[in-house]
């Protein structure tokens, strides 16, 4: 293919240091791979400029220093998973990687950059990205690949806990996986064969962490008090209490208060679902706390509230209605299929012979994959839809947020990277269009 035809000997040897960036809409996962050693874990940097109520602005990892997240406003360089605002993105990258005092300092002119992007990007944005990487930052070598595909370079069978003899070699990329990436902006389904994404079958549903947080905020604002400016706090709440329901209508029944005058027993006791959430008061506490529901009722709480002045929200069906959007986007009028149907739509364009392999190797990554019961629910819904003979096996890696980064770090040490990466000289000689074509052509078929 293109890589082998080019004589690498003519150019300088590839740089030994690789900066691996999984540049997400919510957080950047960043780490350095030097030779054969990689960081164990990437550093997770908030990818935003944030401003608190005292008009102090935090850039990227400075957000760690922030204590009071009330009325936090965010400016995010990444929209819908793609880097759109390079002014902000450059500022964050500069402060994290290129300044003298940057926490992960590296010299772009001696570094290779591996950057993930979401599938089906707009060509204009891809070109912007390539131009910035070479013309502004001046990286020596660069590869931009779609994020889900990097996951294939992980040891897949360890994630699925497949029994095996210890002497089996771990072959990467994995032969066949179906990757579900449920991130901040959207959720995508990507079938991957031998590390090559099957582009025709990539599907997306525009439900992600952001939409779910905003939906929770809306529900709370209708039912309790106005939280619309408290996105950060609502997000913390979502991560703490939300779960995917295995029996939606049953859970909904258990949280219903009943008709006029009636108070159902499940409602009064909480039905095992209701939880109290203590909001931070921004003076002594800065993070919310989850408590078991206190069925003694509002009166005792009102008495306590008089002395302790803490704000308590009782969360009932909000806990599972919010993640339900992933499986039924039509609940809020979004005319898109749910996740299980999305998988089926993706499979429907592939030959049936590939189905068993894909269905038995479904991997879920991304922040929303941390929701409780996500995996059993998806497995249950898929089993209803696929042929009886198919084994449906769904798994998530230990930490679904950094999974793409770990895969990309393995990729940085794989021989594939040398076939795909583009040097600065190549860019200057052939231009941005050539680079874009080379990246979109991918590995080709020969292994």
């Amino acid at each position: 293919m293109a890589g082998s035809r080019k004589s690498r000997a003519a150019g300088p040897p590839p740089p030994s240091v690789t900066l691996v960036l999984d540049n997400g809409a919510d957080t950047i996962k960043a780490g350095v791979v030097t030779g054969d050693t990689a960081d164990d874990r990437p550093r997770i940097i908030p990818n935003c400029l944030a401003r608190d109520r005292h008009k102090k602005t935090y850039v990227g990892s400075e957000l760690e220093k922030c204590r009071d997240f009330g009325e936090m406003a965010f400016r995010r360089p990444v929209e819908k998973g793609f880097i759109v605002n390079w002014e902000a993105q450059r500022e964050i990258w500069d402060r994290e990687f290129f300044d003298d005092k940057a926490p992960q300092r590296c010299d772009p002119s001696e570094t290779r950059l591996i950057l993930t992007e979401q599938p089906n990007a707009l060509p204009a944005l891809q070109t912007h990205c390539d131009q910035m990487v070479f013309e502004e930052f001046g990286f020596a070598s660069y590869y931009r690949g779609i994020g889900p595909a990097f996951n294939a370079y992980q040891d897949m069978q360890a994630i699925f806990h497949t029994p095996r003899t210890p002497d089996t070699s771990i072959d990467t990329p994995a032969e066949v996986i179906l990757l579900i990436d449920s991130g901040y902006s959207h959720t995508t389904v990507t079938p991957i064969v031998q590390g090559r994404p099957l582009h025709q079958a990539i599907r997306r549903v525009d439900v992600g962490g952001k939409l779910m947080t905003n939906y929770l905020t809306r529900l709370l604002s209708v039912r309790h008090f106005d939280m619309r400016n408290e996105t950060y706090i609502a997000n913390e709440m979502k991560e703490a209490v939300c779960y995917v329901s295995m029996d939606f209508s049953g859970d909904l029944d258990r949280t219903w208060k009943g008709t006029r005058g009636e108070r159902r027993a499940d409602y009064l006791t909480g039905g095992g679902i209701a939880k109290d959430y203590v909001l931070p008061d921004s003076h002594t506490t800065f993070h919310g706390v989850v408590r078991d529901y206190d069925p003694a009722g509002a009166s005792s709480r009102a008495r306590r509230a008089a002395v302790s002045t803490e704000d308590v929200l009782t969360l009932r069906n909000e806990r599972f209605v919010v993640p339900e959007l992933l499986f039924n986007p039509s609940d809020i009028g979004l005319r898109q299929p749910g996740l299980a149907d999305l998988v089926m739509q993706s499979l429907s364009v592939l030959p049936i012979g590939l189905w068993p392999g894909l269905l038995a190797n479904i991997l879920i990554v991304g922040g929303s994959a941390k929701l409780d019961n996500f995996i059993p629910r998806l497995q249950m819904e898929l089993l209803k839809r696929v042929p009886d003979e198919c084994v449906v096996r769904v798994a998530r890696p230990e930490d679904p947020v950094i999974s793409t980064w770990l895969g990309a770090a393995n990729f940085a040490r794989h021989e594939h990277v040398n076939r795909l990466a583009v040097t600065k000289q190549d860019y200057e000689e052939h231009g941005a269009g050539w680079v874009a074509r080379k990246f979109s052509a991918g590995l080709g078929v020969d292994s």
Binding site: A124, R203, R204
Partner: protein, 349 residues
Amino acid sequence: MNNFGVIEIASTTTKTTPGWAYVPDTGPTLPAVAQPSNRKRAARNQTVVSLSDLSAREETRLRKELDALDRDNHRDVNIPIPPRPGGGTRAQNKHTPNVRKILQSQKTFANHLDDYIAMLALAESNPVAAAAMNAALAKPSTPTTATPKSASPAPSASAAGTSKRSAAAAKRAAAKEKQEQERKKAKQTPKPDPEPEAEPPQQPAPAAQQDDDVEMTDAAAAAVQPAATSSNKEQEPKPQTYPRESQILPPYAKPPPRPHPGDNDPLLVSVIPPFPSDDELRALMTSPPLNYLEARATWGEEESRYPVRVFCAVCGYWGRVKCMKCGTRVCALDCLETHREECMTRYGL
């Protein structure tokens, strides 16, 4: 009726001109249905309104709500980049024109998407102009005489331009792919693989030019009389031969699972779908990416067949009752009363 001499010519071309247009009246419109002659059974006779033909008002409300859910902040915020403590230690070399344009661009993703859609539309309606624009924009060394602001769409346009050709190629490939798929679907389950399938030994190998038909019968026979064929196949373990001679996905090399007495039971025989040939896999693996809009999943047959679930606007339980004034769904009287107060303040008594 001679329609005042105006004769409508049947044509399939439609022009997209701003303003207004004659629209063929293909069916009863909703208001007409909503007012049947018999008032008594009006409620029962109403046609079921699915989500796809909601009223325009409802549609707008939904869109607004979804837009609100898609925002990063509730209010519009403008957070300027704060000055760096060290004053920015990275050498601030002069920006190249491209970089300057990108940094100054204030476009949002929606703007870029609109640009892209416009580009696609132009390529479809007027390929010549698009090609000319391409040629003009593809020159990388075009001097940037224009002010940065007015030139800011240029990089995106050139990008879309250069890749538009590949996009067109992608479309062609996709079309071909689809044909391929359809062709395959037509042939259906018994995959006509180039080499004959694991043939029962006593059956003589068919002539090469007839393998299509022969395989059909073979597969059919296997389906109808599983007992007969399974007794033949008993000796050869299936998993070993499953992805046969594939270069791309190597066959399963480990020893097959232990045979089980139930293996030959006609009731337990499972259908193994034919494995795609290397050529098919190669086509799939090298096919170009879809564009942003194509990858967005939409409702298929399956989803539009089921009614949409509705929820109580107050407490989130099933929305079983409709407010008679505004149509908002609530669960029961308790929530209806809560809703009435709000409804009253909004719409009056």
